[in-house]
Structures are given as C-alpha cells and as structure tokens.
C-alpha cells in the first residue's frame, strides 16, 4: 500500500452560490466517501476542507505578507484527503468517488522523504 493525496480543486463560486440543501448534499457525499474508501479496500489517513481563498494570506520567499492565495486560479485548491491505496489504478478508483461538484481532483503520490528526491 502507498499513500496518495487527493487534492480537490473547485470553482469557489459554486459554493458561494450554493443553497443550504446543496451544501448539505455535498457534506453527505463526503461522509459517504469516507465509507466508500474502506469498501474499496483503501484507508483514509487524513482529510481537511479549507476556507475560501478570500481568507488566504500569502508569504512568498519569506518576504512581505500579502492578501490572497499563492496562485490565483478559477478552480482553487479547497481541500484534500490522504488515502492508502495499492497502486495508482486503485487510487484513481477511489479518487473518482471523491465529491468535487464544482471542479475535479488531482491524485498525487505522497513522497517518502527518507528515500531521497524521486
């Protein structure tokens, strides 16, 4: 098994305009996802949702502090999971079920820093 991060990128306008029902449905989908990971033979190691990029503060190269996210994009990084999966196909199978109604997800292997740069 290996660790993969599932990074969620979504259009923040989707949530800014979402009704309480939609919000509730997305939360339910995330709760269901946590169970589906286990059903698929993976395991959920961690996961967090982030507040919108309007709340972000950036410090580039240890320099001055600025308002806003590190990179301005339409679909912003909004949350992540860390899962254990057998290989990339298994991780993709899991990631396909990860709710991201306002965008999509990126799967990235988690690096083992003791093995050196890959």
């Amino acid at each position: 098994m290996a660790k993969y991060a599932i990074l969620i990128y979504e259009d923040q306008a989707f949530y800014a305009n979402a009704s309480p029902e939609v919000w509730g449905a997305v939360l339910d989908a995330h709760n269901a996802f946590a169970e589906q990971v286990v059903e698929l033979g993976g395991s959920l190691e961690a996961g967090e949702a982030l507040a919108p990029t309007t709340t972000a503060t950036t410090i580039k190269g240890g320099g001055p502090v600025t308002d806003g996210p590190f990179v301005e994009t339409k679909e912003a990084f909004g949350g992540f999971y860390v899962v254990e999966a057998r290989d990339l196909d298994h991780a993709v199978e899991i990631a396909r079920l990860c709710p991201a109604p306002g965008g999509g997800v990126e799967v990235r292997p988690v690096m083992d820093p003791t093995a050196g740069p890959s």
Binding site: D87, L88, V92, V107, S118
Partner: protein
C-alpha cells in the same frame, strides 16, 4: 525478454541493464560454444539470472526500488493469470504494454516508452522517429519511468471493468506508432518501414492475447489493409502517389486477404468501435478495382457510423472527401466550408489540400491554386510537398484534367 526480467527486478531500469548484460554474456558464451538452439530463451534466462544476482547483491537497496510488481488479485477465470506457465511470456509483454500506455502518462510518452521498453528500440532511434533531439527524448522517457515508479503505475493487465477504456489508450499508441512510420511528419522518407513493422507486430500480439476485445482485431485489420499499399504509396522518385494513381495490382494481396478476414471477424463481434470501422473503410478501398468503381455510398455510410462513435473534425473531413465521390465535388464543398471554421483543423494541411482538389474538379483553377498554396504552407513532408507543387503547377497551367484525387482515409488524431 525485458518483460520477463521486469517481473524479477520490479524495476524497468534495472531490467534494461540486466537485458544488456545478458547480451554481453551471450556474445562471450556463443562465440566460445556456438549459438544455443533457442537463443531467445537463453537470453531471457540469462537476463533473469542477472536480475536475481543483482537483487541478492542489492538486497539492502530493495526498499528503495520502485515496486512495479504487485501481487495480482486472484481470479480463477482470469485468462491472464500469471501462474499459467504457458501464458507467462506474452502475458508479461501485455502487462508491460499496459504500463507503458497508462492514461496517467502523456500520450507522446506512451508511444516512446512502448518503442523503448516493449520493442527494445534504442533511445536515439526513438528520438529520430519522433524528430526530437536525443536528450529531449531521453528526458521524456526518464520522466515517464519516474512517474511509473513514484506514482506506482501498476504492472498488470487491467480488470474486465476497466479494460475497454484502458485498451483504447494502448490501441491508440500502437496506431500512432504505425502512423508515424506510415507518413513521416517531415523529412524525406515517406514510409519508415521499421515503425510500421513494430506497430503491426504489436497489433498482432494484442489481437492474439485479447481476441475477445474486438477492437484489437479492428486495429490489426486496419493496419494490415493500410500497410498492404505500402509499396505503392510512392513512385521511384519517392513522390507521394494518391489512391487514384497507385498500381492496385501491386497491393500486397496476402495482407489484404488477412486484413479483410480479421476485420470481418471484428465486425461480427457486436457494435463496431472506431478501429473496426476504419478497417472496414480501408477494406472497401482494398477490394475496389479502381477509384471510380469504389463503393463510395458504403464508404460514406461507414464514415457516418464512425462519426457516431468518434466525432472528430478529421473524420468529418474524410467523410466530406468520400461524399465528393459519392455525390460529386459540388456536394462536398459546403461540408468543407463548415469545417473551415473549426479551430481544431487550423494548420491541418489536408483541409486546404482536399478543398483544392474539389475546386480543381469543379473547374475553379484559381480557387484550387490558392488552396494548394495554403496546403503547401502547412506541409513539411517532402514527398507530400512535391505532390502539392506538381498539382499547383497543373492548375496554374489550367492544363488537361488530371486524374481525380481519392480522398484517401487519413489517420486521424
């Protein structure tokens, strides 16, 4: 041999080195004792032995080796079960093809990796095939191998549920390999025989190993029927000959017959996919006694079905070229006007080339000349340039009517 060695090493780089070591020891042993009865098996065993030696030596480093080999989920009905000894070697090769053509790799990297690792083509030759500098190709291959190990792209044939989608990526890579050899993007040799041969061999292997997947046979049929015309695609000077001007008696009849048989089998296996439909179109051309006596309504019908499963502007362009033969060039010109607005065809030389040919056939010499010039601006292949320049000179002179252009099916992206 590489595929068999990867199973021992679990690492592509190490497997390649072991394979090279095996060749070195073969040279030494065979010059001393003579060539063994089964040199291929000898080499595979030698490479595996080198691999086993290495992994013993490097047992402390094993932790760092990328783990390519995963224990397969056991399926008693799985025909690719690695424990079936008779299936071991081709199955290894199939796994390697699926690893090299994984959709998580960039498409150009998939074809390059397949050539390098499945076909054993040296990196400088792979670079030449794709007209990129050798360091660029070496970096591309290295990057893809690193992703295979870091992201743990599995070394296995996908399960039944995923297979059709994943197989498409494999078939596309093999088709692209063939197309690269069939019509070089630039340079002087129109046909690079070796790439075509590699692609045909791979298509044959896939059709033999996954016969229940009709599209493997569709691809094999398409390649056979296209390749049957290889000897007639250029004249003695290496200039491009279109379907109209090719000597049909010199088409490889054995390849045509095999291609038709394979394609018929694929068509009989259910709703045809895009490779099977393209093979069927190539089959109609292969049995036509001449360009004029081709069953053009059937070609148009097959293009309609192809558009239904694979809607690309290039397929639509080829359909328009077929309509020009079925219903006359005037009927096809409006279809080309529609396609001219598609940004995906901007810079595609066959669009102005087809337009030029239709205008020439309806007698608009000035319009044809303009479109031939536009096509020339976009074409880098020397053989195709020579053809277009000749046509431009002909319409420029407004000379006697030249034989019509065939609208030969083009390889679509």
């Amino acid at each position: 041999m590489l595929a068999a060695t990867v199973r021992v090493t679990g690492d592509l780089d190490v497997a390649e080195e072991c394979a090279q070591e095996a060749y070195v020891s073969a040279l030494r042993t065979w010059t001393r004792d003579g060539v063994p009865q089964r040199p291929g098996a000898w080499l595979t065993t030698a490479a595996r032995n080198h691999a086993v030696d290495r992994s013993r030596r490097e047992v402390t480093l094993r932790r760092k080796l990328p783990l390519l080999v995963e224990p397969a989920t056991v399926d008693p009905h799985d025909p690719t079960d690695p424990d079936r000894p008779e299936a071991a070697v081709p199955d290894d090769r199939l796994r390697l093809v699926f690893t090299c053509c994984h959709p998580a790799l960039a498409p150009e990297a998939r074809v390059a990796l397949t050539l390098r690792l499945v076909c054993g083509v040296p990196t400088p030759d792979v670079a030449r095939a794709f007209l990129v500098p050798e360091p660029t190709m070496a970096a591309r291959i290295t990057r893809a191998k690193k992703k295979i190990s870091a992201a743990r792209i599995p070394y296995r044939v996908p399960g039944r549920a995923e297979l059709p989608e994943r197989l498409d990526s494999v078939l596309t890579a093999v088709h692209l390999l063939f197309s690269t050899g069939h019509t070089a993007g630039e340079g002087d040799a129109l046909v690079r025989a070796e790439l075509c041969d590699r692609a045909l061999h791979l298509a044959r292997t896939l059709a033999a190993l996954l016969p229940e997947q009709a599209e493997t046979r569709g691809l094999l049929g398409l390649l056979l029927l296209t390749d049957a015309r290889r000897a007639t695609r250029t004249d003695e000077q290496g200039r491009l000959l279109l379907l109209a001007d090719q000597d049909r008696t010199r088409w490889d009849q054995r390849a045509v017959l095999e291609g038709l048989t394979v394609t018929a089998g694929a068509l009989a296996s259910g709703p045809p996919g895009r490779f099977t439909l393209q093979a069927a179109i190539a089959g109609v051309h292969a049995v036509a006694p001449s360009l004029e006596r081709t069953d053009w309504p059937r070609v148009v019908h097959l293009y309609d079905r192809l558009l239904a499963v694979w809607d690309t502007p290039v397929v639509a362009l080829n359909r328009a070229a077929a309509v020009a033969f079925a219903d006359g060039p005037a009927a096809a010109l409006p279809l080309l006007d529609e396609l001219a607005g598609d940004p995906r065809l901007a810079g595609y030389p066959y669009l102005p080339a087809t337009r030029a040919d239709l205008l020439r056939r309806v007698g608009d010499a000035a319009g044809a000349a303009e479109s031939y010039r536009r096509a020339l601006e976009l074409t880098a292949n020397a053989a195709e340039r020579a053809f277009l320049e000749q046509r431009l000179a002909e319409v420029g002179r407004a000379a006697e009517p030249a034989p019509p252009d065939p609208g030969e099916p083009r390889d679509a992206p």
